[in-house]
Amino acid sequence: MKITLEVNHKKISKEIDPGMTLLAFLRAEGFFGTKFGGCQKGECGACTVLLDGKPVNSCSLLAAQAEGHLLQTIESIGENPDQGWKKTAGLSLIQTP
């Protein structure tokens, strides 16, 4: 299936497997700040991204679910802390929920 995700205010269209997680999608697109070596079960928070401004575990979402939502990774909010993480609920590189 083909999806278009808006990541860090940039639209990315890609053909994916329906079961691809958001984490796998982001890693495949080079967003390596979203960490892969965590629990993969939605417990550790290493793969946290912002979905419409709210922190979520990207390992526990399908990439297809995120279509139509704004995604922000650490690459985006790290560049503009005054507009980014300081105004969010507190995304850090590794966040224990």
């Binding site: 979905l51 979520v56 526990s60 399908l62």
Partner: protein
Amino acid sequence: MIIEYQRPKSLQEALALLARQEPPSVPMGGGSILSKSWQEDVAVIDLQHLALNTITDAGEKFEIGATATLAQLDHFFADTQLSEVIRYQAGKNLRNVGTLAGLVASANGRSPLLTLLLGLDASLIWQPGDMEISLGNWLPQRNEWRQARLITQVNLPKVSYRFAAVARTPKDVPVVAVAAAKWSNQRLRVAVGGFGAVPVLALDGKMGDDAAKAVDQAFAYAEDEWAHAAYRCQAAAKLAARLVAEFAGEEH
């Protein structure tokens, strides 16, 4: 594995997709469970466009849409013990995506929130047909529930309630959880969790019934690698007695 993803725009469309024989189709709330690997080939039906995420104060009960997230519930019930239990159930990231119906459909017996919902005698509204089934009646047959039906709403009665749990650490899932609810007509209901596939209803009676004895019996065979049955029985009995005593204290 997930071989198909659908995002229907109406309830009718969702029900039609769920009614298909092939591929087997499962409803998806937040995806925190369904995004994990599957042994069989399934299609997931994402419910995010169905606007089932409202929470309404309907007089004697709260009507909660199936896809209301735990974060929404936490916000709606702020400064109540229900909010504390929601936060105990899931961390912030999971609360932002996890839905109430998703939890009802997938949480195991160690879930604090599912234990509390059972204690509160929550009921589920199913489509098609607007069929209302109490959580207590549905949970034991959860795995046999047939497809082509969808939870669209969870009803929570407005009653006094208490919750207490014991775990290895304050944030760990409980090995013993007790939820008690009291109605204005003196009905008393006690559910226990911390063990098994689903929480168990220990007592549905009236104030004055022996809640401690009821939970002791409910945990008689609750033995696993986390705790002995004897420990669970003793701890649960003490917690139940304490919660019921708090209700009695409310009246004086």
